[in-house]
Amino acid sequence: MRFFLWILSLCGVLGVGLLMPGAPVNAHHASEPFYDATKSVEAVGVVTRFVFRNPHSFLYVDTASVDGKTTSWEIEMGAAVSMSRRGWTPETILAGDQIRVVGAPSKAPGTFGMCCAELTRPNGSPITP
């Protein structure tokens, strides 16, 4: 049952991610030159830093592959000034948190950027302030 719920939540997250348009990351710049909104990638790992600033906050997540290789993802988020009005703080996400991130991947080959992402905790609950 628990596994079924996990799959259900993953489908929901992926569905939202795939339906998300190439919206600007909080209106400082368009996401289109940087990220491919027609694709969706998933990163499951550990938060190493959450930098809550303007014009864009960034979330840094390390993931490990089966062969032990670490990939460091940089997830672009909104402006701190706007996010704070919705209740976000620098402590909403902390280094060491386990997290799943699904969003549009960066366009440049060999980079591990992501934007317009949905963030969830291991129990499938969305990360909200």
Partner: protein, 253 residues
């Protein structure tokens, strides 16, 4: 009528004078504009004072087609089209924390605060910590007044504030944040602000014969900010502003 009949003796007159001095000394900007309004006719001066929400609650968020839609997008001349063709997004000054300017600043989805004084109106924008002063006292620009936000003069007319801004410096992305269109020292931005109930409304008209074939305009609105909201500092972080550049496929190698 004698002084006695009116009930005001010499001591009373001194008291009134002192009271008047106290009123002048403690007058707030809002009172000042009200006093000024008596001279200019109160009905001419809209109450624009307050913190205003220009975010997604008030209007569609800006983007390549907002607020410049296919219907009101300006007609570009050959010079603008050539600039647009060679423009590289990575070179946009905003990635070095250079602030947004008119006509984009007004439509950025952030809050702004308006303060009305007898001789000026001040627009403070949460986005990029920008402050624009609109002079009402008849002063004119000097060659030293070229800035990224230009030089603004204004007047009240039929319940609206009319603002004209010139003296902009050349700006490689001076049109908006999305379309790679520059603006020149010939840019002129005219704004008309008025109240409709609780809303603040504005029509902005842009002229720039260096790049546009004809003027273009958009109309938008702000809603009152939540009670007690104070503008936050923006403090653009240059490292984060430029961080996503590496995610682009470069136009020039």
């Amino acid at each position: 009528m004698s002084q006695t009949d009116s009930g005001i003796g010499s001591g009373g007159l001194v008291g009134i004078a002192l009271a008047a001095m106290v009123v002048v000394l403690v007058a707030t900007p809002e009172m000042a504009i009200a006093q000024s309004g008596t001279e200019r006719a109160d009905s001419q001066i809209p109450d624009l004072v307050g913190v205003w929400d220009g975010g997604g609650r008030a209007r569609p968020v800006n983007g390549p087609n907002m607020p410049w839609t296919p219907e009101n997008f300006p007609v570009l001349n050959e010079r603008a089209l050539a600039y647009q063709a060679v423009f590289d997004e990575a070179l946009a000054p905003k990635y070095d924390c250079v602030p947004s300017a008119s006509p984009a600043l007004q439509y950025d989805p952030y809050f702004m605060e308006v303060v009305q004084w007898p001789d000026r109106v001040m627009f403070r924008y949460e986005k990029d910590d920008q402050l624009r002063t609109v002079w009402l006292d008849g002063r004119t620009a000097t060659p030293l007044d070229y800035t990224i936000q230009g030089f603004s003069v204004g007047r009240y007319e039929e319940g609206a504030l009319l603002v004209e801004t010139t003296h902009f410096v050349f700006d490689i992305t001076g049109f908006d944040d999305y379309n790679g269109i520059p603006s020149s020292q010939l840019k002129k931005v005219s704004e008309r602000y008025w109240r409709e109930g609780e809303e603040l409304r504005m029509t902005l008209t842009l002229e720039d014969p260096m790049f546009l074939r004809q003027p273009a305009s958009y109309t938008t609105r702000w809603l009152p900010a939540p009670e007690g909201y104070k503008l936050q500092g923006y403090a653009c972080d240059p490292d984060l502003a430029r961080r996503a550049i590496k995610f682009m496929i470069p136009k020039y190698r």
